[in-house]
């Protein structure tokens, strides 16, 4: 099952819509609640990242019987140093974004912590792609 959601850069009032839709579908599939929770936390974090940093983005979600793959593709400034961005506390968010309670520099590390698998690729000046994979029956459920 394939779904797509659009993300508008800079519009925090709509941030979370896609995460809520994905959450609802995982609940419909009767997926373990711990996995639902981790998926939603990781996706929400990724969604907010796109809103905070990019001009626009699309979330592609694919559910099959074993897993869900969530791919967030944005058009934005890109991440120059992904390794650095993976470290806790690193943030490039503007002060306005921080004042709204976002951008504490926990984004990618928190996604990594919650996702079964996280792939990040980026091209400076073009955009970033984040791919979160979650398995419904994860023997190493965190």
């Amino acid at each position: 099952m394939h779904f797509e959601y659009q993300i508008e850069g800079g519009n925090f009032t709509r941030a979370g819509f896609a995460s809520s839709e994905i959450k609802k579908k995982l609940k419909q599939l009767n997926v373990d609640l711990g996995i639902v929770k981790r998926t939603v936390v990781a996706t929400y974090e990724a969604e907010v990242n796109v809103v905070a940093h990019a001009y626009s983005g699309t979330i592609y979600v694919d559910f099959d019987e074993e897993k869900v793959v969530i791919r967030l593709v944005d058009e934005g400034p890109g991440i120059p140093d992904i390794e650095q961005a993976m470290k806790e506390g690193f943030s490039t968010a503007s002060s306005t974004v921080r004042e709204m309670g976002f951008g504490a520099g926990m984004g990618l590390p928190n996604m990594k912590k919650n996702a079964d698998d996280l792939q990040v690729s980026s091209e400076v000046g073009k955009g970033t792609t984040v791919q979160i994979t979650m398995h419904y029956q994860n023997p190493n459920n965190k």
């Binding site: 099952m1 979370g16 995460s19 809520s20 959450k23 609802k24 579908k25 609940k27 419909q28 599939l29 009767n30 997926v31 609640l33 711990g34 639902v36 929770k37 939603v40 936390v41 929400y44 559910f63 099959d64 019987e65 928190n110 419904y136």
Partner: protein, 459 residues
């Protein structure tokens, strides 16, 4: 699907229901359908919030209560009253008058529920401070909220504070105290005067407890009418009350069931949210984030919390105002060191016993969203829901007898409805010449009852 999960105090009277769907449209958990011109409840979706009861224009939804006369099966007949009850009456009606009428009606003891707060308050505060592993912690005070979390927000069940509410603590205290006074526990009946349906459901099928210490439940509107009639007719004047004066309730107890009543006593960052749609909106967001900044959440299903309970008679804003005045008077006496107010009530003599029994067991999630237990079946059904949604208008008109297009789609995949129930689908089929007008009328009659389609139906 699954078997019946729990008891509902809200009952739909088919003989009175006119199938107007007002209840279906206000239900926050989409638990109501219209079939054959009557409202039907999906038991597993209902959280007993009572929104439907308020919306029904003909009184077809009733709150089932225990027969009042059952109190006489017991020698000791205890009325447990919440502070909301006194708040129903104008300022000049005293607690003594109210309890006098209760004694007149046949009770042998009257005790205010929120004395339980004296034991609960610090236990709960310590619990919030020591259980740092889950944030925010959510109060289990409101039974409709506990059920809402079970069915709609199952990932948050681990955040619930597993402590009994003041009602259960007060009931446990009173029955123990009567046993210690030499009364036979089989001859003691503890009756709760309830402001809402959710509390009845919680007594009849408790969550996280084997059974309830409460023997029966009496609706507050019934008691209100009895008491107010007696006061109005002058049977019980201020001077004719022969009742021993009740223990005074502490200011924190008076306000406990009002909005911010619990949150005001917890440490850290707290939020108090009332009214079920507000709660749903907040929890929807909370489920998405890893929010570790809020320590304590007080959530109540009714607007103005229990003062807005469906079995209350007085305007909820007046009720809260009267409770605040009462709390202010109590607080003044507490500060002045008034003997009866400044010292702990008799309930604290049982603190150890009550604290030993204060915990409830883990609250189990029971998601209403799941389409099937089996994931591959659920996947098939999810695909089907999606395909059906493509055919539906996203108008949520309710003419199909389901509250939303998405509820119809889910009902169809569960075999509980047909796509042709949608009026837009019918019109499309008529246009294509595949559904004669008579057939579409027949379908509508099956949903809304044939009477509504008779010419001059409302004459």
């Amino acid at each position: 699907m699954d078997g019946k999960y729990f008891h509902h105090a809200l009952k739909f009277r088919k003989d009175v229901c006119i199938g107007c769907s007002h209840c279906m449209n206000v239900c926050p958990t989409q638990a109501i359908r219209i079939r054959e011109g009557k409202a039907e409840l999906k038991d597993n979706f209902c959280v007993d919030c009572g929104k439907c009861y308020r919306a029904c224009p003909v009184g077809a939804i009733i709150v089932e209560q225990d027969d009042f006369n059952q109190i006489f099966r017991y020698k000791q007949r205890v009325a447990l009253i919440p502070s909301i009850l006194l708040g129903q009456f104008p300022d000049e009606v005293s607690l003594t008058q109210v309890s006098s009428v209760l004694m007149e009606l046949g009770f042998t003891h009257v005790y205010e529920v929120e004395h339980g707060v004296e034991v609960l308050k610090n236990t709960m505060k310590n619990h919030v401070e020591t259980h740092q592993e889950a944030r925010p912690l959510i109060s289990t005070f409101c039974p409709a909220i506990v059920r809402l979390i079970q069915v709609r927000f199952p990932t948050l069940t681990d955040n619930l504070i597993l402590l009994k509410p003041p009602l259960d603590i007060a009931a446990a205290y009173y029955s123990k105290m009567l046993i210690d006074q030499g009364h036979d526990p089989d001859e003691t009946g503890i009756f709760y005067i309830t402001p809402c349906a959710a509390k009845i459901a919680a007594v009849k099928s408790p969550v996280g407890q084997e059974d309830s210490p409460i023997t029966g439940v009496i609706n507050m509107d019934f008691i209100f009418n009895k008491v107010y009639t007696a006061v109005k007719q002058g049977f019980i004047g201020k001077n004719t009350c022969q009742l021993p004066i009740l223990d005074p309730l502490k200011s924190s107890g008076v306000m406990w069931s009002a909005t911010n009543g619990e949150a005001a006593h917890m440490t850290g960052r707290t939020l108090a949210i009332d009214e079920i749609s507000n709660v749903i909106e907040f929890l929807e967001q909370l489920e998405n984030e890893e929010n570790r900044e809020i320590d304590f959440l007080e959530l109540r299903a009714c607007d103005e919390s229990c003062a807005g309970g469906i079995l209350t008679s007085s305007n909820r804003f007046y009720t809260v105002d009267r409770m605040k005045k009462r709390a202010a008077r109590a607080s003044k006496k507490e500060k002045e060191g008034n003997y009866r107010y400044a010292n702990p009530g008799p309930i604290v003599q049982y603190r150890d016993f009550l604290e030993d029994n204060i915990s409830i067991s883990k609250v189990q999630p029971r998601s209403m969203d799941k389409l099937d237990e089996d994931i591959s079946q659920a996947m098939k059904k999810m695909k089907r829901v999606h395909e059906i949604m493509e055919m539906l208008p996203y108008v949520d008109c309710g003419l199909c007898g389901s509250p939303k297009c998405s509820s119809l789609a889910e009902d169809i995949v569960q075999g509980e409805a047909e796509i042709t129930q949608c009026i837009y689908v019918q019109k499309r089929m008529e246009q294509q010449g595949v559904m004669p007008a008579e057939q579409s009328i027949e379908i509508m009659k099956r949903i809304w009852g044939k009477e509504k389609f008779e010419i001059g139906a409302n004459d």
